[in-house]
């Protein structure tokens, strides 16, 4: 089969990526600017024997996809700010119980109903820390339409591999933008299949190496008869309120991610090898930043761009390396300083970090970033 060349919207590409990954269950509640994903899933899933359901709210949506994942299906929901807030409790459930799910959050201006439905990038911290308690989570940030496909596909693979919820964090601009994209030949796409235990006899649903091991997940309905609970639990799945059981479980959950930052981290860059001035950003702000970096280069400034495709776990190594070279690091983002907090933490004073925040509900114009850099130089 040939490659697929198409004019596609970001949300459409997310849906295509999910289908390529083997999506078979979607539950969601309409909210702009994410709704096209639900509409496309409603149309496409029955064609491949998959299921679509419009739930009564976003809490129900994430709960339903967790149920479907437990039943052995690749499952996803999509939402935006207010809906993403509603999902938080059950995202924690999926983290603790190690249920693979994918959530696309097409960010819009908040807090609250905010400015519907202008773009924003202000859910960086919520995506990481939205639910209560320490918990593992992976957050990917596509920077263009093609990456909506790639990173949603990857989100499924990572969620199966590490048994964690994976959040695909896009924004209204990326979600609604149309670009010509070339998608791979379907025969060349090999999504990860969930690793299965060998047989029900002796199955321990949470038996794994305490140093970040990932236990094997049995689907419901196959004779394993296991217990899944949002209480802290031991290897057999039995609830426990012993301190050492909780400690062992939570540390293992965090190590699943911490030990594999290199595998999960992903970024794109331009000109960072010899840069004196760097821009670190993600998503649609990176589109505006790219032309700024190129313009600065033309003007003789050694500028570089580091565009993060993985936001969490934060690609510390890449940023630290950058800090060894760049005197100043600029962080443009459509919020008042969220990614910048992480950059500042990692840079730890080795470079000057300058925040460039925008909260007018509009995409950065390149000259705004350019002027901010010139003004701060």
């Amino acid at each position: 089969m040939p490659k697929i060349v198409k004019l596609m919207q970001g949300n459409e590409a997310c849906t295509a990526g999910a289908l390529a990954a083997g999506l078979r269950f979607y539950a969601g509640y309409p909210i702009t600017p994410s709704t096209e994903i639900a509409e496309l899933c409603a149309e496409e899933l029955p064609k491949v024997g998959g299921k679509f359901i419009q739930m009564e709210d976003e809490i129900g949506s994430v709960a339903a996809i967790i149920g479907a994942s437990l039943a052995g299906k690749k499952a996803m929901t999509a939402t935006s700010g207010p809906g993403f807030s509603l999902m938080q409790e059950c995202i924690g459930y999926a983290s603790l119980c190690e249920i693979p799910i994918v959530i696309v959050n097409v960010q819009r201006m908040g807090p609250s109903t905010g400015m519907p439905t202008s773009p924003a990038q202000a859910d960086v911290m919520q995506a990481r820390w939205g639910t209560h308690g320490d918990h593992p989570v992976i957050v990917l940030a596509p920077g263009n339409v093609r990456e909506c496909f790639e990173l949603t596909l990857r989100a499924f693979d990572l969620s199966e591999k590490y048994r964690v919820p994976v959040i695909v964090l896009t924004d209204e601009v990326i979600g609604h933008m149309r670009e010509k994209v070339e998608l791979p030949d379907p025969a060349e796409v090999h999504p990860l299949r969930r690793a299965m235990p060998a047989a029900p006899a002796g199955y321990k649903p949470y038996a794994a190496d305490p140093n970040g091991g990932v236990p094997l997940m049995a689907p419901f309905g196959e004779g394993y008869r296991w217990h899944c609970t949002g209480l802290f639990h031991d290897e057999s799945g039995a609830p426990s309120n012993k301190g050492e059981v909780a400690d062992r479980l939570l540390r293992r959950l965090m190590l699943k991610i911490e030990n594999n930052v290199a595998d999960i981290s992903d970024y794109a860059s331009e000109g960072i090898e010899d840069c004196e001035l760097a821009v670190v950003t993600f998503g649609s702000s990176a589109m505006s930043s790219l032309s700024v970096v190129r313009r600065l280069r033309k003007e003789g400034v050694k500028a570089g761009l580091l565009r993060l495709k993985t936001l969490w776990p934060f690609p510390e190594a890449a940023v630290r390396e950058l800090a060894a070279r760049a005197k100043t690091i600029y962080v443009p983002e459509m919020n008042l300083g969220q990614l910048a907090l992480e950059v500042e933490r990692v840079v730890a004073g080795r470079s000057r970090v300058v925040r460039i925040g925008k909260v007018t509900g509009e995409l950065f114009r390149p000259e705004e970033i350019y002027n901010a850099i010139m003004g701060a130089k």
């Binding site: 499952a75 379907p186 309905g221 217990h227």
Partner: protein, 286 residues
């Protein structure tokens, strides 16, 4: 007797419930109904929310899912729609089902999704130690109703029926044979079934309202009820203030997950010649 115990994870016992709690009686009734129907253990999923009642699932030897407060039906909806061939049962409390989970309850009923819901109604929030719930009768005491509950309560069975449930019944932890019968019928209905089981919480509702221990509470529950069939023959003044027990509604209708399966067949027939659509994934369909 039979091998009822074999449906339990005996290694997880003893349970967490207080002496005299009614939740165990309801759990026992569920297991007996399953046993009578001879259902395949491996094809049963029991889902619960949060509360003393919701802890029941941890003791049962099926695939069991103890979820978040109020969300059992939403998780269960995902399981049932994903794998309609599984028997999906929800065990929930009055607070779990009618307060925080009320919206999921009415929508699961509206869809007539094939889930058997057993509401263990002790008319109080037991787990959080005795606050009033939407099922606490007006005037009764709770830790957050120190002067008597000022709110009206639900008639859960009427709520279920008017929301679209196709089988609805009510029994109590006193009327155990009736409870088993109703659960058996509920499990046999292909659609959304609700069995409300009134149970006793001697620790909080009983103590706070000075009803007494488990035995006095069972009497107290019994005296509130009247059999639906018998009630039909009684004059209204004799039924006044009584809760009807028995089968209250039985109106089979097409089940949602099955209907969605039909929809898939139709779509796949219509699109048989279509290559892939948005993504050419027909090749790995299931």
């Amino acid at each position: 007797m039979s091998n009822t115990l074999s449906y339990f994870r005996q290694e997880r016992l003893p349970h967490i419930w207080c002496p005299g709690c009614g939740h165990g009686t309801v759990t026992g009734a569920l297991v007996r109904a399953i046993e009578r129907l001879g259902l395949d253990k491996n094809k049963i999923c029991v889902v619960s929310g949060i509360g003393c009642s919701s802890r029941a699932v941890g003791y049962l030897d099926f695939d069991t899912l103890h979820t978040a407060h109020g969300r059992a039906l939403a998780f269960a909806t995902g399981i049932k729609l994903a794998r309609p061939e599984l028997k999906v049962i929800v065990m929930t409390g009055d607070g779990d089902c009618t307060a925080i989970g009320g919206n999921h309850f009415i929508h699961a009923a509206r869809r007539n999704i094939g889930i058997t819901t057993i509401v263990m109604n002790n008319e109080i929030y037991g787990m959080t130690s005795g606050q009033y719930s939407p099922m606490t009768p007006k005037g009764m005491l709770g830790t957050t109703a120190p002067y008597g509950n000022a709110e009206r309560s639900f008639d859960l069975c009427e709520l279920a029926k008017s929301s679209g449930a196709t089988f609805v019944g009510r029994a109590t932890s006193y009327h155990v044979p009736l409870l088993i019968d109703l659960i058996e019928k509920a499990l046999s209905n292909n659609g959304f079934s609700v069995v409300e089981a009134l149970t006793q919480c001697p620790t909080y509702l009983g103590r706070k309202n000075k009803i007494g221990g488990a035995v006095e509470m069972l009497e107290w529950i019994k005296n509130q009820t009247i059999n639906a069939k018998a009630a039909a023959a009684l004059p209204p003044e004799k039924r006044e203030g009584k809760l009807l027990i028995g089968e209250l509604h039985n109106a089979p209708a097409p089940e949602f997950a099955g209907e969605y399966g039909e929809l898939i067949h139709t779509v796949q027939r219509n699109f048989a010649n279509m290559k892939g659509g948005l993504w050419e994934c027909a090749s790995n369909s299931d």
